[in-house]
């Protein structure tokens, strides 16, 4: 174990190499390209362990992963933005097929017009595809979450997406505690899920089902995904023992007496965490997991701290409704007898969040017309 100055992209690729995969199939796209380059580099040096397959498109990348995962292989892919959108049909297919694929998505705005900044709309628009989604706030989290994603996916037999912001994380060089492969493999172990296809034994895979059968399968996926909180805690106990650090479904930092908190997922959570000492009586709820949505955990934090106001940083926008994290939160809070007020700061287009924006925003009082919904260009 040693600290290395590496980028978020290198952290993702190195974690994949440390875990050990049978196959990587990926197609480069900004800002994910450096991940593919790093994995190709490992492959060229004979350090990848598995096959590196160059494919002609993102659709082919995930189709290739699906085929390999059907044989019980551990596979990885990475993409961003338009690449993720292009995969969309296959994204549904691999969760329905229960392939425990791990994919990194580096957030980037989807056009038109072309834009490279890290809007989260690419990964959030895959909300209903049946994938787990983990959001990372720095390169260390990227390294650690990619490792944990393989354990989670293979335990639940559900695909898992590890998500982080383009440039602010993917292209930022920072100190990352990089574990050795033998330590990581001690924790993760070899892939142990049953193959659906066995060479030499012909069979039919994922044939036509009735709606009734499909319902049962969807119900099982839903109930299985809801097992994540218990599994996540178990994994992180083992992770802490091995590496001396661990994670929670929600990372909360709420000063005593604070009645409001900022909710953020991804890189913006770290800017908020940094700004907390200058933001009076304000806490942070960092969303690490978006699917399954940690509704019960959030309600518990709100009740325990008697929070009356949540400010949600949404680097995305569902046009016609508003910030996606804010929507999901409002839905989760509906069951509370006294739900807190939910305000939304929309940074669609992946615009920058600064400490000053947070200071200005928190000075806005509840009486102002635009209290509930603010846009990043108003500051």
């Amino acid at each position: 174990m040693a600290f290395q100055m590496i980028s978020g992209s290198q952290a993702a690729a190195t974690a994949v190499q440390r875990v050990g995969v049978d196959l990587v199939a990926a197609y480069p796209i900004t800002p994910q390209t450096a991940i593919v380059e790093a994995l190709a580099d490992f492959s060229a040096k004979g350090e990848l362990g598995g096959e590196f397959v160059s494919v002609e498109s993102e659709y082919a990348a995930l189709a290739c992963c699906n085929g390999a995962a059907a044989t019980g292989a551990r596979v990885f892919t990475a993409t961003a933005s338009h690449g993720l959108a292009y995969m969309h049909e296959m994204i549904h297919w691999c969760s329905g097929a229960r392939f425990p694929i791990v994919m990194v998505n580096v957030n980037r705005t989807i056009g038109a017009p072309w834009c490279l900044d890290p809007d989260q709309g690419d990964s959030l628009s895959q909300r209903d595809t049946g994938w787990l989604q983990l959001y990372c706030a720095n390169a260390q989290e990227v390294f650690d979450m990619v490792i944990q994603a393989f354990i989670i996916a293979e335990e639940l037999l559900l695909p898992c997406m590890v998500v982080f912001d383009g440039f602010y994380i993917s292209h930022t060089y920072e100190a990352v505690d990089v574990a050795d492969a033998d330590q990581v493999r001690k924790l993760v172990g070899p892939p142990a899920f049953a193959p659906q296809v066995i060479p030499g034994q012909p069979g039919n895979l994922h044939g036509l089902s009735t709606g009734e059968t499909h319902l049962k399968l969807v119900k099982d996926r839903h109930q299985t995904m809801l097992r994540l909180p218990v599994l996540f805690n178990k994994i992180n106990k083992a992770f802490a023992k091995q590496f001396g650090r661990s994670y929670n479904i929600l990372e909360t930092q709420i000063p005593s007496g604070a009645k409001r908190a900022i909710v953020a997922a991804g890189a913006t959570a770290e800017t908020v965490r940094w700004a907390l000492p200058v933001l009076a009586d304000t806490g942070l709820i960092q969303l690490r997991v978006f699917r399954p949505f940690p509704a019960a955990e959030i309600r518990q934090v709100i009740e325990e701290n008697e929070l009356t106001e949540l400010l949600v940083v949404d680097r995305n926008c569902s046009v016609g409704m508003g910030g996606i994290f804010a929507q999901e939160l409002r839905s989760a809070l509906y069951e509370l007898p006294k739900p807190p007020q939910v305000r939304s700061l929309i940074l669609a287009g992946g615009v920058d969040l600064t400490e000053q924006m947070l200071v200005d925003l928190l000075q806005t009082t509840g009486n102002e017309e635009n209290f509930a919904l603010r846009w990043g260009d108003e500051f």
Partner: protein
Amino acid sequence: MDRQISEFRLHGRGGQGIVIAASVFAEAVFRDGHYARAFSLFGAERRGAPVTAFIRAGTERLMPRSRIYNPDCVVVFDATISGSTLYAGLKDDGLLLLNAGPGWPETVPQELFENQSYRIYQVDAREIAWKHKLAIGSFPMVNTVMLGAMARVSGLVSIDTLLKSIKQRVSASIDANVKATIDGYENVEEVSGFVTGTI
């Protein structure tokens, strides 16, 4: 030193290696016992187009993950890039390091020198790069020269640590790059006006 962060903004052109320079500098800061991050802004990057990179250095691992609007230090790898945005937001007691020298067009706004609180440094990195034959065609590779100068004016990393980081990252012309770094470190000097005719 609690929560203290030094922020650098680097301006250059695609092909000058400013993104690599930023990451090498951050690596050297980390080697010298502090935390650091380096990152860059990308658009449709290509050789010759303006590029911006950032470095944060501090005592804590936690840092804001936003762009840098009020840098402590602006480093201009090519003073022919025009526009006041290069110097925008520089803190009142900030440092400005310019790659410029005899024969350069005068593009640095004179009012920068009239602001007495800035400390302005100049190094003819282009000339030093030529001297050590660090060029791709007619395009001088100035990044290691500028790194040497950055180490000197910022005082954040020692030249020895910087050279270790450079040797680790640079794969070609290592000797020339080491000499260029040392030359940058030794030849950078504070100026009271933009020197183009003689230095």
